[in-house]
Amino acid sequence: MALIKTQCVEPIAEEAREAPRDCAGLISRLAASDPTARRWAARDLVDCPEAAAALVERLKQEVDVSVREVILTTLTSLGDPIAIAGLVDCLRSEDTALRNEAIEAMQQLPDAVAPVMHGLLADPDPDLRIFAVNILESLCHPQVETWLIEVIDQDPHVNVCGAAVDLLGEVGTRNARASLQRLKARFANEPYIRFAADLALGRLHEN
């Protein structure tokens, strides 16, 4: 017996891919009642550079898991500033699954995400800054360690720093040593930060 209710991904019927197949027609099909039609529209919109905003709006309300996956794949393929802005917007959602999906999508777009990373790490909302650190976890970009060091040097929120230290323990080099020591001093009364910083410092030898 399945513990979690999973949605059956039914075969895509060609008839659900009915005309019109121009960009405007595809965008309108994102609101079709049939999830198969929505899935086809989301897939075919990969050839429509102006489709990102409509895809993001659909993503926020889409309940079908398979359609959501295709929307995210298309947004990742588009990877333009509108797609990135839409994914950032999803990070502010109370829907945990949507936030996680946005994080995973952004992790696939290092070059497109890099220009907005400073803004994300300086956002007034500490939760959003934590999600930005979560993006760095699998972001293949040469600046990742520098961004993390900036976080632990400057961010006033203990949990943002905690998330960054956790990651520095995995990707940090000796360049992070002084900042980790300063962090321990800055949060001297927080046992978790002391614990995490000591752990990361120990692991720097291995990296």
Partner: protein, 123 residues
């Protein structure tokens, strides 16, 4: 010896909580997300769950909802999160949490809350 399952995707957080709890003679197991936690909970009886909210695959809310829907003895759960949004606390209790804490939790506070939920201390 009481058994506690720590459910968190952050390895450092799991290790931090493990050390606190093991020092106090609790038996600890770990899960990295709600799916893994649910599988372990159905295989092994735990006396308490320490559950993060934000996790991949199945988050803390989803894990607790699924757990509470199972026909098995229900152990108390502490939901623990970095998030200070007011809705999170309400959603945690709605999902089946017995207590909601904001990270980072100091060792003495965590142990006091765990012991209280296990009936070893009075509030």
């Amino acid at each position: 010896m009481k058994r506690i399952l720590i459910v968190d995707d952050a390895a450092t957080v799991r290790l931090y909580h493990r050390e606190i709890l093991e020092t106090a003679d609790f038996m600890v197991d770990e899960a990295m997300n709600g799916i893994e936690a649910l599988e372990k909970a159905l295989q092994t009886g735990f006396d308490l769950f320490l559950v993060d909210i934000n996790m991949p695959k199945l988050d803390g809310y989803g894990f607790l909802r699924e757990l509470r829907g199972q026909d098995l003895p229900q152990a108390p759960a502490i939901m623990i999160s970095t998030e200070a949004q007011t809705n999170d606390e309400r959603r945690a209790y709605a999902a089946g949490a017995n207590l909601y804490l904001i990270k980072p939790v100091k060792p003495e506070r965590l142990l006091a809350q765990v012991r209280m939920l296990l009936g070893e201390l009075h509030p």
